[in-house]
Chain length 230, copies 2
């Protein structure tokens, strides 16, 4: 479109199979005028409906979608019912055993704040000494409002400064095991403290996870961020 | 499973690409004991998540899923927004031009009741003289509650004694053209009265349509059925 190589910087990474409701991308164009609406429409003509561009804006040269982001928020959906649902199969994880939501929420308490998440992260092979310390800002299980006539949907909302590889799916896998009664809520804090990935559960499947929101300076403060935390 | 050929009778037909939230199927088994829960679980192990069996019950021999059904209800979802949505692409029809919902609803009035729906039906090739007279019991456009963070979803609920081939999609195509301003609400009544399929719009795409509910004697009466109609 601009007859030059374009290098994209993305605000949030997602594993293969993970969806994104929001994603912010920056790139530079040399010596050409970018018309935002026209570029948005051209991208949608090429990529929709798999990838959709909702807005194009021109920003200061120093704005970087990745480094300017203050937090990322993900959502994970669990269909907790005896019977699966064909219409929800591509966006939810079907778990037939009844889950104990209160224990799953209780287990989240130990995760909030600044921690070394080694027990819940796939260590990057190319940077074996990379820090896996991250700040978790929100971790909430709620019953999703009616979707497609179903009432048995559990929603996990999780936000943090950043996430390491497979971290959200590893947290969901472990928390669902708390809901199943395989771990107590207290054991999740112990798994975190042990910094040993072999203690956490298998990662939850990717197709039920969505990158949901990305926060930048100047955005409205979400409710979960305005509550003071120790 | 029962070592004999099984003949299925379905309550409602759907075109290729159409979903079903509910479907009722009857079949007979000779000389074998059917255990409902076990059969349900076996079917789900074989067919889920594309096809899911939510319940198996043993009924009187004379009960026939198709002939006992008193009404069928379908839902059609239109995403009426400037920008498409990847997560809704497989279950909604994206229409970017703003639709006038009130006119679409007004146009439905002429359709309710017993009519010859020739203008909205694909005539069956094998039975060219088949009657296309059907009774429409409900035809309602509403704004769907928030789904996946989107608020621009229009829901069309339509119920009738029975539907002929492509009838719901033909009605939706024509009503969306009313919303676009191509037809007035009054013209829809004229198209119906003309009994001429060339006057109605192209059928709406199948992937946004779902067979939603099937009514049998003894079921609770839905709100739209309890309102007296002329």
């Amino acid at each position: 479109m601009y007859s030059q190589p374009i290098v994209l910087t993305c605000a949030g990474r997602t594993d293969a199979g993970v969806h994104a409701r929001q994603q912010v991308v920056t790139f530079g164009v040399r010596g050409k005028k970018v018309e935002p609406i026209r570029l948005r429409n051209s991208l949608n003509a090429l990529l929709a409906p798999s990838v959709v561009t909702s807005e194009v804006s021109i920003v200061e040269t120093q704005f970087d979608a990745r480094y300017a982001a203050m937090w990322r928020q993900y959502r994970y959906l669990v269909l907790n019912s005896e019977i699966p649902d064909p219409l929800l199969a591509t966006t939810t994880w079907w778990v037939d055993k009844p889950l104990h939501l209160e224990s799953m929420q209780e287990a989240c308490e130990a995760l909030i704040g600044l921690h070394d998440f080694t027990s819940f992260c796939k260590r990057p092979k190319d940077i074996p000494n990379a820090t896996l310390v991250r700040r978790l800002l929100q971790a909430e299980w709620t019953v999703e409002p009616e979707l497609n006539g179903r009432h048995e949907l559990l929603r996990f909302e999780v936000a943090g400064s950043a996430f390491c590889h497979q971290m959200v799916r590893s947290l969901v896998g472990t928390l669902v095991d708390v809901g199943r009664g395989r771990f107590t809520a207290a054991q999740v804090g112990q798994i975190l403290a042990a910094k040993d990935r072999s203690l956490s559960s298998n990662v939850a499947p990717p197709h039920a996870l969505s990158l949901w929101n990305i926060g930048y300076p100047g955005d409205e403060t979400p409710v979960w961020l305005s509550t003071p935390r120790p």
